[in-house]
């Protein structure tokens, strides 16, 4: 009887330990997490327009067929990265992720209120701004995003207002760029 109770307690204790370990380690172990998928798609600091989701191909799981995606896997080891894109509609959005898929910042066309946007992605305090993102008033159309991580993913989402918008939406995304910001060139546009 005593053995049974000790065994049961042992099982529960050990199971809880295994449970917690499994849950906490999975984000680091999942072989096909979003970071791994995006890394396979593109080199760092380059804008990639994902091919439209189709029955034969989806770059990321459960992609929307009526959204077009531009993806930039940024690496800030050598300084800030500049992301520039057109914003054709209020519904467009730009979301920033850590390699673990945490969306640390997102902004949409309605909030941006402009059709062409330049975003500087930098590590915390590199360009002297506090956590989060801030719009620098003196430089129009420039948003600085403070990244909590040195590597991450920026995703531009462009919902299609109808099937006939696909071509122009993809073309606009392809005109976007994601480049390593050259030293000294940050604010002298």
């Amino acid at each position: 009887m005593r053995t049974a109770i000790v065994s049961a307690l042992g099982i529960i204790f050990l199971a809880a330990l295994i449970h917690i370990t499994a849950v906490l380690s999975l984000p680091y172990l999942a072989p096909k997490n979003a970071w791994a998928r995006v890394s396979a798609l593109s080199e760092a600091n380059k804008m990639v327009v994902l091919p439209a989701a189709s029955p034969s191909h989806q770059s990321l799981p459960l992609m929307a067929s009526d959204v077009r995606y531009g993806v930039c896997r940024f690496n800030l080891d050598n300084g800030p990265v500049r992301l520039s894109t057109q914003i054709l509609d209020d519904l467009w959005s730009i979301a920033f992720y850590t390699p673990r898929g945490e969306n640390f910042y997102a902004i949409n066309g309605r909030e941006l209120k402009r059709s062409q946007i330049e975003i500087i992605i930098s590590t915390r305090n590199e360009v002297g701004v506090k956590a989060g993102a801030s719009l620098l008033d003196e430089i129009e159309d420039l948003v600085v995003v403070d990244s909590p991580v040195r590597e991450g993913i920026a995703v531009i989402r462009a919902p299609l207002l109808g099937p006939s918008y696909a071509v122009q939406t993809e073309a606009a995304l392809k005109r976007g760029a994601c480049t390593r910001n050259l030293p000294g060139s940050d604010f002298n546009r």
């Binding site: 099982i11 330990l17 295994i18 849950v23 984000p27 979003a34 989701a53 519904l91 959005s93």
Partner: protein, 194 residues
């Protein structure tokens, strides 16, 4: 010897229990992480940097990059409103009122998450291209062969999955409030099965 066997049993049982419960709570969700509204389920903290470990593990496994749940929500349905698994052998009507979101899209996938091949090239209806009634409500038919109105083609066989994504959702919290959500989210009703 007996002690060794006992320990082995404890270890195996703990492994099964620990991994089994972790797998279930990561894959299917639990009251801690997911809300169920009619046939729809939603991970309440998807994409949030301060999300709980279960949500983070689920997203890592799923390989998706959801927009933070503060501004977008993703609702998943694998069953109709009676709780029966969505099947390609049946036809369904999805009816509802537009969500209070800047944009929403209702997409259909097969049970494995793949888009379903069809001649119409139609995989989703969204806020901008769904045909609506005068009062703003909409009705989408899921069927294998063409239907008048909003028709989402389904697979030849197997199960189906619906994903309702809502971008720039106004008052996301109230959508998660059960009563409000039940009024707000579309219903999924089976019409006929083959």
């Amino acid at each position: 010897m007996r002690l060794l066997l006992n320990l082995l049993f404890i270890f195996i049982a703990a492994l099964a229990l620990g991994l089994g419960s972790a797998w279930y709570m990561i894959e299917e969700g639990s009251a801690l992480t997911t809300s169920h509204v009619g046939p729809w389920s939603v991970w309440r903290s998807a994409g949030k940097p301060d999300a709980d470990p279960y949500t983070k593990a689920h997203m890592a496994r799923a390989g998706r990059l959801p927009i933070t749940a503060t501004s977008a929500l993703y609702f998943f349905a694998n069953s109709d409103e009676k709780g029966n698994t969505l099947s390609a052998n049946c036809e369904y009507v999805v009816e509802g009122r537009p969500l209070n979101a800047a944009w929403w899209s209702l997409a259909i996938y097969d049970g494995t998450g793949r888009l379903i091949p069809n001649k119409a090239g139609r995989h989703a209806f969204n806020r901008t291209d769904v045909a609506r009634r005068a009062d703003g409500s909409f009705r989408i038919v899921l069927a294998q062969s063409a239907r008048p109105g909003n028709w989402l083609p389904t697979a030849k066989q197997g199960s189906l999955k619906l994903v309702l994504r809502a971008y720039d959702l106004r008052d996301a919290d109230s959508v998660l409030d059960k009563a409000a959500a039940e009024r707000g989210l579309p219903t999924i009703r089976k019409i006929v099965c083959r």
